[in-house]
């Protein structure tokens, strides 16, 4: 992953609106040197890992796995499976739940954010419910969802929906309110009706913020899913983490964490690609 993505404040920033792109994206520094140092850094880290666990035995195997143990756990996970399924089964189970919750949240949250941004009446009416519910972190809904729906998939989708819904709504709403007033006036004086105003002025104008919201939603979806599966589940990567912890199998913990990281990165990249295609007018 390259440096320009690093200060992606939005990712880490919870509900805070992201900084303008110019600030989030640092000017590309000398890629050649940077790439070399970066690669050396990763190689150095891997070497350190080998030295600490295998070369010297400084870190005990029950604390952190050696590269060979990691490899062994990965092989076992891929071929025999762990905690009720192979790597692909468990990874797909988690990804499917994340995508379901995320898509439902986007399909409900973005329209609601649009409504609240366009209609001051809807905003005044719905804002109190938001102010009351927002301070409760999404993870705090997990026990309630389990009480309501049990340990199966439905409870997971509910909490993911909940975690991903709020950033979608808030950022869409902020985006709509941030649409340049002059553009709205320009559309009016050229005879745009309400529908055209919404589809050709307000939505495109809010689109960058909508995507900021979706990125935060996606991140929240993964965090919530992992937590919910750790609290209690029958399948999924969180279940794998939990089982590996109970079996004191650090190698499998590490494998599951790597898989979670890769899936999180991959889905984020996909969303970024969608953004790049849907917003071609950006310089």
């Amino acid at each position: 992953m390259s440096a320009p993505d690093m200060p992606a404040q939005g990712r880490a920033a919870g509900l805070a609106p992201a900084a303008p792109r110019a600030i989030r994206r640092l000017p590309a520094l000398g890629i050649g040197r940077r790439g070399v140092v970066g690669a050396l850094s990763i190689v150095g880290l891997l070497a350190l890992w080998w030295v600490l666990t295998t070369g010297t035995g400084f870190v005990a195997p029950y604390r952190f796995p050696s590269p060979a143990e990691f490899r062994g756990a990965l092989d076992q996970f891929v071929t025999d499976g762990y905690a009720g399924g192979t790597l692909w089964v468990q990874a797909w189970h988690s990804t499917r739940l994340v995508l379901m919750g995320f898509v439902v949240a986007a399909l409900t949250g973005v329209p609601l954010g649009l409504l609240m941004g366009v209609s001051p009446r809807a905003e005044a009416l719905l804002n109190p419910a938001f102010l009351l519910v927002r301070p409760i972190p999404p993870l705090a809904w997990i026990p309630l969802a389990i009480v309501w729906l049990g340990l199966g998939d439905a409870a997971k989708v509910l909490v993911i929906w909940f975690a991903a819904f709020v950033p979608s709504v808030i950022n869409t709403w902020t985006g709509v309110r941030g649409v340049d007033r002059t553009l709205i006036a320009a559309a009016q004086v050229h005879g745009a009706g309400r529908w055209r105003m919404l589809t050709e002025v307000i939505i495109p104008g809010a689109l960058p913020m909508i995507f900021t919201g979706l990125r935060l939603s996606l991140q929240a979806s993964w965090t919530t899913l992992v937590a919910a599966e750790l609290v209690g589940a029958f399948f999924g990567l969180g279940r794998v983490l939990d089982a590996a912890y109970r079996d004191i199998n650090p190698a499998m913990i590490a494998v599951a964490m790597v898989v979670v990281g890769i899936l999180g990165a991959a889905t984020t990249k996909l969303l970024g690609e969608a953004e790049r295609r849907l917003i071609p007018w950006r310089s």
Binding site: D180, T182, L183, A185, A186, A187, Q188, V189, H190, G191, A192, G193, R196, E200, V201, P204, G205, L207, I279, P280, W281, R282, S283
Partner: protein, 264 residues
């Protein structure tokens, strides 16, 4: 074609401290059909407010504004506005921006294409139709904005310091092009500016506003002189060297300077 009629128009605000602030007081003014009227005034004289009321984006607190005999209540495509900040849709290409108003009217595709092509030609912008606004220079962007407004063939054109955000050279080029365009397709035009030379060069009449409160100071006729001396056939720098031009410019400038206080 229509005229614009301001009848005893005033605009007052209640400020946050509770006192009344009068932005405009009792302005009566008629812009005749196909006439180009420029409004100049110091900042705070309410010139932009005047334009916005004609557009229907602001509303007078006393008096009324009529366009073609009909009272203005809301924005409409019979009165196109060119904004200082261009206000192009960043997510639409040049072609889509120019065609926007026509699409709002439900014009057929063939007609849209024809009008877009005509204005691209008139504005010397052929070949840029598929670019996005951020890929154009400021002068080009404002040409697109002007083309977008002309394309809906509005009865009335309202321009709010359209060249205010351009550099001096581009500005001169745009002034010449606007003269070319307006003499060829004259429309009822209200042109807001704070640049005296621009007003005198472009307009049939120059309206000078005073401030505190914003009100009408004097209306200066330019058209008679311009037509007598044939300005339209000359280059802009040649016109600006003419004694008749300098005379008018100085006159307007004095009207404005009288109101400028040391703290400006």
């Amino acid at each position: 074609m229509k005229d614009i009629h301001f009848e005893g128009v005033g605009k007052a605000f209640r400020t946050r401290s509770g006192s009344d602030f009068v932005a405009l007081s009792d302005v009566s003014l008629t812009v005749a059909e196909r006439e180009f009227v420029a409004v100049v005034g110091p900042s705070g004289s309410g010139k932009t407010t005047l334009m916005r009321m004609a557009a229907g984006l602001d509303h007078p607190t006393s008096g009324q504004v009529t366009v073609g005999g009909k009272r203005v209540t809301a924005p409409g495509p019979d009165r196109a506005v060119v904004f200082q900040q261009f206000a192009l849709f960043p997510w639409k290409t040049v072609r889509e921006n120019i065609a926007f108003g026509l699409r709002c009217q439900g014009a057929p595709r063939a007609k849209q294409d024809e009008v877009v092509a005509r204005y691209l030609r008139l504005m010397n912008m052929e070949g840029t139709e598929d670019r996005y606004p951020h890929q154009l220079s400021g002068g080009m962007q404002q040409r697109v904005a002007i083309a977008r407004s002309y394309a809906i063939e509005p009865d009335v054109l309202l321009m709010d310091e359209p060249f205010g955000a351009l550099d001096a050279q581009t500005r001169t080029v745009m002034q010449e092009e606007l003269v070319r365009l307006t003499r060829r397709e004259p429309r009822t035009t209200l042109f807001i500016t704070h640049a005296v030379e621009e007003a005198v060069y472009l307009a049939d009449r120059v309206v000078v506003l005073a401030r505190d409160p914003g009100r009408l100071r004097e209306i200066v006729d330019v058209r008679a002189t311009r037509e007598a001396e044939g300005w339209d056939g000359m280059a802009i720098d040649a016109v600006m060297d003419l004694p008749s031009f300098t005379h008018l410019r100085t006159h307007v400038w004095r009207l404005l300077r009288d109101q400028i206080r040391p703290d400006d």
